[in-house]
Symmetry: C2
Subunit: 148 residues, 2 copies
DNA sequence: TATTGTTATACTCTATAACTATA
DNA sequence: TATAGTTATAGAGTATAACAATA
């Protein structure tokens, strides 16, 4: 295209850039043919281990009925299982099965590879800027959420 | 949380950071109560002007029937309109209405403000890193796509 | 015959309200 | 009575297949 054009550093343009990056990375994870919602929930179970259905719903910004259905679909697909919470008869613990963990790890690797592939094509200063910029933005988002 | 922990610069962690950023920015745009898909399509019409339904479907990585339905919903909401393409009797041009353009501009401002709010809380070197990193990543994605 | 768009159908994702069971 | 989870219902988002109209 027009790589001689000056970089537009306005918030508007930066925002479009972030969305392009996410779209690119997400499309790279194909194992299991999971949707965004399913992938995100399975990732959380993979990273954080078994947890209560309500806890999972809250963490994923989903309603309880939504999570009930999503877990049911994941269960039908053999990726997670429900177990009773022995400390609370009302509760249900959701955990990834061995197959689910395997899918999770593959998808994580696919996404990491996609981002690594992008990093490979950056100049060294740009690559360094990425390792500074992204964690810094994630940090202030966490601060926002903690403060709200 | 644990802000004393060292920044994890692995591709995996950077990827999670990007997803957090997108989630944060997307949640900030509330005008019109649009879904991600509706918002994205309306944004494109706002940025690029009227275009063919097929063209819009391709640009949004959607199927033609999907776009037909989405445009129908947007039309019902008064945000876009269909007009005949005079150069091709089969074609349909989709364009944002005045209300649609207004919603588009407000949402764009909301998202830009959200990102600007994050930038405000960064240190100066971090802010600079962001303006280098994001356009650079977007650039290599475009190069990828052009080369494929 | 190929392209543009729509209709038909089906499944995922999401939300709210109503319900059941346990605390 | 409050909380955890499910069921019921409905609408948005997505895809493929079949179709109509135009090129």
């Amino acid at each position: 295209m027009d790589s001689a054009a000056p970089a537009d550093t306005s918030a508007e343009h930066l925002m479009l850039a972030v969305e392009e990056i996410v779209r690119h990375v997400r499309r790279s994870a194909t194992t299991g043919g999971l949707s965004t919602a399913a992938s995100s929930a399975l990732s959380r179970l993979g990273r954080e281990g078994p947890q209560r259905l309500t806890e999972l719903a809250r963490a994923e910004n989903a309603s309880q009925p939504n999570m009930t259905q999503l877990v049911t679909r994941l269960e039908r697909a053999g990726l997670v299982r429900r177990t009773a919470d022995r400390t609370d008869g009302r509760g249900v613990l959701v955990e990834a099965t061995r197959v689910g963990l395997d899918v999770f790890r593959r998808r994580r690797a696919e996404r990491a590879d996609a981002l690594a592939g992008l990093l490979d094509e950056l100049t060294e200063p740009e690559r360094h800027a990425v390792t500074v910029a992204l964690p810094a933005l994630a940090r202030v988002i966490r601060d926002h959420q903690a403060g709200s």
